[in-house]
Amino acid sequence: MIVFLTKRFATMVGTLLLISALTFFIIKLPPGDFLSNQIAELRSQGDAGAAARADFLIKQYGLDRPVWEQYLVWMGAMPGSNGYSGLLQGDWGWSFEYDKPVNEVVGDALWLTLLLNLATVAFVHIVAIPIAIYSARRQYSLGDYAFTLLGYIGLAMPSFLLALILLYYMNRWFGISIGGLYDSRYANEPWTPDKIKSLLQHLIVPTLVIGLSGTAAMIRRMRANLLDELSKQYYVTAKAKGLPPTKALLKYPFRMALNPFVSDIGNLLPHLVSGSVLVSLVMSLPTVGPILLAALKSQDQFLAGFILMFVAVLTVVGMLISDLLLAWLDPRIRLGQR
């Protein structure tokens, strides 16, 4: 186990280094850089004065150096300007757009993103698992068909369209303000019960919208997995020996059917941070997704780079966790034994 873990860590570090290089160079691929684009934009709005400051800033952020040098500075292998030490030293860099250290920019959005996506994940599991069990037990019943139909609609409906429709009607019927994660009147206020209530109200639509397609997919997979297990001998035997059907189902087939979902945890973790970008954009949610998109568009390189790296780290860690969990969950999986 120790050997396995050390090996895993070594590959993880290698993978992350590779990812960091790739992300940085891809961010830098489009022509121009943040400041020159910024200046062009300002000038096209008649702000010639902005150009005067350009050289000043470009030098200050080292944007006039070659890309590989900028990458090394970012990683912390080379000294940067403004006392910037680099990722490996725990300095996540500077956001040009917000004129703030990256951690300050991302920090605010991060926990709201976690909240939203956790709510979504919870919603998906709470809704999907019971429905899947029902559908598998009563295959080809009316209920099964009804859920299947609903599921397909959920899969087929573009989420941003659903978001807009729901936003509109939630506002018309229940007076919930459009977009955001709470009513804007609470924006600069501490967390009072009223603000929390507003937050919960505003969570309904995004949770539904983001969760719907996930729910539909999960129902289908869970149902298929369960159907596989339900025809197996051990289950038939268990029922024949007189185990009550529910207990018989939950004890073994259900556990086996969970396997694919456990291996999905690796994907779930990064999703908690970077998921639902489109819906967040449409609904104007103050989450990490829109920040990442804006950063990529404006080539706010350290901010975009940091978010992508963060997601990469979460993916790699998630994979490790799901491997360990699988080993614990399913006795048939053994590590390192051929």
Partner: protein, 667 residues
């Protein structure tokens, strides 16, 4: 504003009163004759008999935390003449809620809350605003008179020192302005002589007229030739301890004191709540936030005739929401006022919510040369395309091949102005011929022109062939965000097929598009037409000359001028060189009649040469106005330059007519 000393009696120039069917904004185009000379002098409005304390500050004044109103105002406040402009004396109080797409867009608030040293009024006459008056001798010696007793929003006096600080300690400081002072301060690369006459008078003197100086001060992007010296000095190495500054810079993760100075110095961007302002409202909180609050400035220099200090509304609240939600939020009644960020396709959604939510959607024409204009790239790298784009017959043919009437009906509800990319009817520079020369639909003439060039070879489907055998298929590159532009181009595909020209639309990110244009890659770009379509003779004709690289007709020529010959290419097309000569002539003259003549020749040159191909102008800008907000025009012109979005219509005079309406849904 005159450019002649008063001793020269000059007859009044012809006035052009072209009515564009706009009440409030009928641009009564005063040529700057004897009448306008007084425009830069002190205001003739009498002072009110007494001052009314602002309710919002009543408590603070009683507690002694704020001086009473009489001590807060300058000796000569600007008394606004509401009645003369068909407005009413309003009531103080209440908040206005509006939206912005991101914190960086708060800069536009400075354009909307228009206050300038000298600013345009609704008739586009330049008048003193923050200044009490201006003495102008031939645009060469310009003396600015401040208002005695005028104070910054923190109560500190606003004096000549603030001008001196910006000029001597900032603009001329190589650490802060590595490229030297802003270009409009110079003539032939020579700096003005700056003199502090006394604490409320400063003088700039050039060796030749600098007609750029005063109009630049009134631009939507205020160049701000003054700074709150008492605040900025704490970040300046000349006035503060170098050691402490270095530490402060390091704390802010900045390299030098200059970087820190630049960071704090953002009067226009509204990102630093600490810097004092002279504007009507002052920002109270910094980003990141989802809601920004602007609160009234107790020392603001404008008052009404009843002795009430402006602005009428106490706060402007800006909520941050993604631009895509603007129409939905307006439709749900969540905004009191909103203009920037809405566009023509949103109108049905906006109209739908009016009754239920109690607001109105005003529809203002956008004063642009053309809502969608095509720019054949004269500096494209491909030699075959370059030769063709530079052939005036080709450009004229493309223009004659556009059925603008159909575009107008299909996309602009039939309300637009069809024709070239030129100034608008109502500008003194306008002539009907500028709009229509080669700007009509005549496919036969277009085909004849293309045949004359020698593009007679055709492919099986009727598409003409280029001289090297490639099909004549133009890839028009366009900013992916511009929905109306893409819609218009899709109609163009059909029109140009009739004249044997293929068209492909390539939407992309605007930054990528610009960088491609600088590199000479696009054959043609589609974008907005002239920004300023209602110019007066004193405004700079810079959009018409090949001097900017972000003009898609000639990126490399512009580059050449902007980099002083280091990059790009020198302009080598005679007709475009003429534009350059005219522009330089404009810059060196103080005679307004001559400037008007230059404007007209440049516009005529543009119509004749079709440097850009216009389609339809006068798209509509929807503006949301909550019922109960008064003193805002029902119809006027909307633009960036010169109206500063809605700035010149003076939003500080907007008020809530009933007290109960004032309690915005906020707070």
């Amino acid at each position: 504003m005159t450019r002649l000393p008063p001793c020269l009696n000059r007859p009044l120039t012809r006035r052009a009163f072209a009515r564009a069917g706009l009440g409030a904004a009928s641009l009564a185009l005063l040529a700057r004759g004897a009448q306008a000379q007084s425009a830069l002098g002190p205001s003739t409005m009498p002072l009110p008999s007494h001052w009314v304390e602002t309710p919002f500050f009543q408590k603070l004044v009683e507690e002694g935390k704020l001086p009473p109103i009489a001590d807060r105002l300058p000796q000569q406040p600007l008394v606004v003449d509401l009645k003369a402009r068909g407005r009413e004396i309003g009531k103080q109080g209440g908040d206005i809620i509006t939206l912005a797409a991101r914190a960086r867009d708060l800069r536009y608030f400075s354009a909307i809350a228009y206050n300038r040293l000298v600013g345009y009024d609704e008739k586009l006459v330049l008048r003193p605003d923050i200044l009490e008056s201006v003495d102008n001798q031939d645009d060469r010696v310009i003396t600015l008179h401040l208002r005695r007793g005028h104070r910054w929003s923190d109560g500190h006096p606003f004096t000549a020192e603030d001008f001196r600080y910006w000029w001597e300690d900032a603009a001329l400081n190589k650490a802060l302005f590595p490229a030297g002072p802003p270009i409009f301060m110079m003539i032939d690369g020579q700096l003005p002589t700056f003199t502090v006459v006394d604490e409320v008078t400063v003088r700039y003197e050039w060796h030749r007229p600098n007609p750029r100086f005063l109009p630049t001060l009134a631009l939507p992007r205020d160049p701000m030739i003054y700074r709150p010296a008492h605040y900025m000095k704490q970040f300046h190495s000349r006035y503060s301890d170098a050691e402490a500054l270095a530490q402060a810079a390091a704390r802010a993760k900045l390299k030098s004191w200059a970087a820190l100075h630049n960071r704090m110095d953002d009067m226009f961007e509204n990102s630093n709540p600490d810097i004092p302002t002279l504007g009507p409202w002052k920002i109270m909180n910094a980003s990141p936030a989802t809601r920004f609050v602007f609160q009234r400035n107790p020392y603001y220099h404008r008052v009404d005739e009843a002795g009430q200090q402006l602005p009428y509304t106490d706060k402007v609240i800006v909520d941050i929401a993604s631009a895509g939600l603007f129409p939905a939020k307006a439709n749900a009644g969540e905004v009191d006022f909103l203009a920037r960020g809405l566009s023509m396709p949103d109108i049905p959604v906006l109209k739908e919510g009016e009754k239920a939510q109690g607001y109105r959607t005003l529809l203002w024409p956008i004063a642009r040369g053309s809502q969608v204009a095509l720019y054949p790239n004269l500096t494209v790298s491909d030699p075959v395309w370059r030769k063709l784009n530079r052939d005036v017959r080709f450009r004229r043919a493309l223009s004659l091949g556009i059925d603008r009437h159909t575009i107008n009906n299909a996309i602009f509800f039939g309300l637009g102005q069809e024709g070239n990319n030129t100034v608008r009817e109502g500008s003194a520079m306008f002539e009907p011929d500028f709009r229509t020369r080669y700007g009509i639909y005549d496919p036969e003439a277009a085909n004849a022109l293309l045949d004359e060039i020698g593009l007679t070879e055709r492919r099986g489907d009727g598409t003409r062939l280029l001289s090297d055998g490639r099909p004549l298929e133009i890839v028009v590159e366009v900013d992916g965000e511009g929905g109306m532009t893409v819609d218009t181009l899709q109609l163009l595909v059909e029109f140009w097929r009739e004249i044997g020209v293929g068209l492909f639309i390539k939407p992309q990110d605007i930054n990528v598009l610009r960088n491609r244009a600088y590199a000479g890659l696009p054959v043609m770009v589609a974008g907005f037409g002239l920004d300023n379509a209602i110019p007066t003779a004193e405004m700079l004709p810079s959009e018409l000359a090949p001097i900017f690289q972000d003009n898609f007709a000639w990126p490399k020529w512009g580059q050449y001028i902007e980099t002083k010959g280091k990059n790009g290419e020198a302009c080598d097309v005679q007709e475009a060189q003429r534009l350059l000569t005219l522009y330089i002539t404009w810059l060196s003259t103080a005679d307004e009649a001559e400037q008007a003549k230059i404007w007209k020749e440049m516009l005529s040159n543009h119509a004749d040469q079709q440097w850009s191909i216009g389609t339809v102008a006068d798209a509509l800008q929807p503006i949301i106005l909550r019922d109960g907000l008064k003193n805002f025009p029902v119809k006027a012109l909307y633009s960036w330059d010169p109206t500063s979005l809605v700035g010149i219509y003076r939003v500080d005079e907007v008020y809530w007519d009933k007290a109960e309406r004032r309690v915005a849904q906020a707070l």
